[in-house]
Point group: none
Chain length 209, copies 4
Amino acid sequence: MVGTRRSLREVLGPVRTKEIEEAALRVIAARGLEGATMQAIADEAGLAKGTLYLYFEGRDELLIHLAESAFEELLASVDAALSGTEPARTRMEAGIAAQFSFFESRRDFFRVFVEVVHPGGAASARRKRSCNPLYQSFVSRFARFFREAHANGELHAPLPERLALFMAEGVNGLILNRLSEPNPPLPDEEVRWIVDSVLNGIEIRRSSS
Amino acid sequence: MVGTRRSLREVLGPVRTKEIEEAALRVIAARGLEGATMQAIADEAGLAKGTLYLYFEGRDELLIHLAESAFEELLASVDAALSGTEPARTRMEAGIAAQFSFFESRRDFFRVFVEVVHPGGAASARRKRSCNPLYQSFVSRFARFFREAHANGELHAPLPERLALFMAEGVNGLILNRLSEPNPPLPDEEVRWIVDSVLNGIEIRRSSS
Amino acid sequence: MVGTRRSLREVLGPVRTKEIEEAALRVIAARGLEGATMQAIADEAGLAKGTLYLYFEGRDELLIHLAESAFEELLASVDAALSGTEPARTRMEAGIAAQFSFFESRRDFFRVFVEVVHPGGAASARRKRSCNPLYQSFVSRFARFFREAHANGELHAPLPERLALFMAEGVNGLILNRLSEPNPPLPDEEVRWIVDSVLNGIEIRRSSS
Amino acid sequence: MVGTRRSLREVLGPVRTKEIEEAALRVIAARGLEGATMQAIADEAGLAKGTLYLYFEGRDELLIHLAESAFEELLASVDAALSGTEPARTRMEAGIAAQFSFFESRRDFFRVFVEVVHPGGAASARRKRSCNPLYQSFVSRFARFFREAHANGELHAPLPERLALFMAEGVNGLILNRLSEPNPPLPDEEVRWIVDSVLNGIEIRRSSS
DNA sequence: AATGAATGAGTATTCATTCAT
DNA sequence: TATGAATGAATACTCATTCAT
């Protein structure tokens, strides 16, 4: 009995936490990051404003936690995509496709991601810099992939970290752009085109016959 | 003499405008975009709050003007770099180097750039969406370059706009990253590496003997 | 008990609203409409500035609500006075006495009344013009009275709306004047004198013997 | 020569003063009293903001002076109308007609009149109470008229000051109302109706057969 | 005498956070 | 645990007034 009670509490906490996070996500989707006031989140969650502070220290912590939760998903799906025994090209396509689908399915969260992630961005005075590691760990997945493929002799990637960052940001730019495009191409096509361009290069080499 | 007097006054306007812009830039550098309150900018400029409103209609206009001023410089230098008769590789290196040096010399402004430019970002509700064209015109310089090089047979760039965006964002990512690196490589090296990677591709093609 | 608690909360809203309105009234009395800043009202109410916004959407809404609340009282008492079966003279005296006592007991609010009511007044750009109907409905009570008395053959009032307005403003002028008079006559005397003058006329008609 | 110079100065002062007052009047007409900022008045007058302070101590003094100037006109025309040897009814009609035409020809100024004149009105904290006398002197013209007509045996006006005030305000109410009427009657008709009502009274007296 | 750049106190309003219930 | 009333610091913006030129 006592055990039941205790576990109820222990279970309720994470549940409420999740509810609040999801409410916050919906609010951000609808009204932007700036419009995501504590009141708006509380309303959306069907809770009182003060209750939010029982589960999060404050607004900043809530947003950071939001980003972290989302990132865990992203990392998991990128990891799954990049690992395996297929050729590097195949895995790279899968990894970037994962990046695409993550942000496409949460396009509204994308802005939070961008803002929370870029260190020193807008509200950085308040927000802890510690959000950065999130992005680092995302990028570093690709970096590891490049490093291994380089070691394998599959890819020529002597600067895997930089390459990973370059790719990640370039892809993000494309995804962001898609948000404002009326009829963007299918994600898969875009992924294939990116990977193809980067792997093959875009320079036309004249055959010295 | 009278002419001198008059010109003094006429000159003061642009000077103050510039002073304020520079103060704003410094504040943004130190405290982020959100921390760039009118009071903080006025303090930094050694002026009274109200004085700012003699030169700018309001905060939004000031920030937009800031971005525009900077962009004009960027566009001019990118244009100069990309035009010419040298081979595509050379010009591309020059163009990206221009992008590098622009942001390296104004690294603090980078954030404004990013935020003002990305439509829908944090404070976008207030800001006019019209800032977007700034970024568009920057990217479109590279797009045009790719389109022409594609027509020339110098590059394989069937989707020049997307490629330009991908490159621009990728490069921005690298620049941004440099801000937090203790000892970043020389910009020129980094530029060469990027261009090389993109032009040649990173896949190692086995000779089919 | 639980019911008591709940009703406590539900009761607090109107109470606070009333408190704020009364504080606002006091401030207006002491410092004029323009001096009735949100800060001043909050101070007078013993509340924080922000609290005011929990009960009123903003300054304009507060002032309008103030006027409306007061008007409802006025209308009710004028209605009661003008209706009935007594002779027109008696009811008219009662109606004007109601107008008198309303403004005498709230002399400080009089200014709000005047300003809020007169369309196009000072701060009218902000305020919705819709306040006007308040005054209209007050005047129209007298207009109806005159119209009916005219139909009855009790009074000669072929232009009841104009007459009502003329009377209302004339009486207001007298009330306003009383505010600065050291020893104004008793309201009742003044009312009788007004009604007498208007009903009998002031011209001395010589008997044509 | 010296004399000429000096007189130039002496003449310029009043001229500028007049120019500024007229500019102020135009601004008030167009933008309301609250919109009559020093800048707006200066622009309208084709002068610099600072110049206004050479002719008026400040905004309040300017507005008061404005009211005073206008009142002098009003008083003169009312005086002319009320004096004479015609019967009281005729002179009273002329006096009220003067009041009508004054405000009809300066309808935009009417609001200033109302606000500046009513002691304790909106901005009264700043404005000196001394504006009141303006209104007093206007009203007192009618008061004197009633007193004399009472003494003459032409009118029954035992309380001439109150009657004058009552009439003045009542008439003002009608004028003000005309501002928002689409097709107000001719002023002369309205004047005749008012005077007739007040002189004859509106009560229908049954003949005691 | 005339200017207009500079000032800064003052305004309404927002919202993260606290705490008594 | 949950509430939501209360808070007050912070923000953008206005405008009467001053004063060096």
